[in-house]
Symmetry: C2
Subunit: 211 residues, 2 copies
């Protein structure tokens, strides 16, 4: 998240094929690592890995013609960086608004869109939203993240109530200073689900309560 828009880190290809187009960071799998280790290693060249708050497999892209030449099977990942970290990124990379992607290399546009859809879905039935938020955040800030990622305005009132009832918001007691125009200082919260997996789905058909 950057200035209330959902972004993706892309780098501009310096080689043919598709020279100049923007592509997702990645690279070849080494024989001694699994795919998650590999993508974390690849990303370490672009972003500090410790800043990745969440990493999950997205899907395998394996169409025979997805890249020119010999076939390349790609395991795509969805990785989330909190909105407050602003990592040093190399010259040839940039954060791009997911809503206005540039001309991408290969099938990378569809990969990004798939990742966006996955994020949107999971925001609605998991705690994944907290992976986009800083350690401490205001309800307004969280509302901004949800709104930008989902593409529609969510109510701060309702967001706070829903997350509170689920026991996910822990008040830190501290407050954030108000903006230039004043306004009541916002209370700072942290994610309360420390023991909880950030991707644990909410139950819908719950087990019977009586036992």
């Amino acid at each position: 998240m950057r200035s209330d828009t959902l972004r993706v880190l892309l780098w501009q290809r310096a080689l043919d094929p598709h020279l100049g187009r923007w592509s997702l960071p990645g690279g070849r799998l080494r024989p001694d690592e699994d795919v998650e280790t590999s993508i974390r290693r690849q990303l370490a060249e672009k972003v500090d890995v410790r800043q990745l708050k969440h990493v999950e497999q997205l899907a395998v892209f394996s169409a025979p013609e997805r890249v020119p030449g010999p076939r390349v099977v790609a395991t795509a990942f969805l990785g989330l960086v909190p909105s407050d970290v602003d990592p040093e990124i190399p010259e040839d990379t940039a954060w791009h608004d997911v809503a206005e992607l540039p001309r991408t290399a290969f099938d990378h546009e569809s990969i990004v869109l798939r990742a966006r859809d996955r994020l949107r879905s999971k925001l609605c039935y998991t705690n994944l939203g907290f992976a986009l938020a800083p350690e401490e955040f205001t309800v307004s800030a969280l509302r901004g993240l949800y709104s930008a990622a989902l593409g529609y305005r969510v109510s701060a009132t309702n967001l706070q109530r829903v997350l509170s009832r689920r026991g996910l918001l822990e008040p830190t007691g501290r407050t954030a200073p108000p903006g230039r125009a004043g306004g009541r200082p916002a209370a700072l919260f942290s994610f309360a689900g420390k023991g909880m997996q950030i991707t644990d789905p909410f139950a819908v058909f719950r087990p019977p309560s009586g036992r």
Copy 2:
């Protein structure tokens, strides 16, 4: 689903390594096919592909030591067969209760369990349950599927009400004959979400209704 238990199709290895152990159907990716085409081809040798009502990528398993010898990266799939089809299966394959897996080859047990967890999750926030049901089914039968897959009893009353409100149950007008002991004949329903993707998630943070 077989006699109200969740099963998985496994075949018994005839070769070393892990001779005699049970393993998931699968095989090597050919250069001219993508992974989904490949797994459908592989399965065609075991089960008629047309009987697969749903196929989705589960995850990539890529630990360097997951199989002896040179590393093999596997893309695992979750495939669902309706409860009423009873395909011809080869001699060396069998349906195994997921709750009581035999000694499996490699990491296939963890793959199966991961698939089970995915199924359980998705039953709660998608229409995936209908992929396990016949074209026409009674609410009781559906309840049996949900109960067996989820591992806890769900109420037929509530299941019907919830799915009806979502507009997913279409009455066919026909009824199923009662069992030996009698009882009111159950109405037959079909899945009403014909245009709808079976995996479309239900919204939780819904877009504002007023617009």
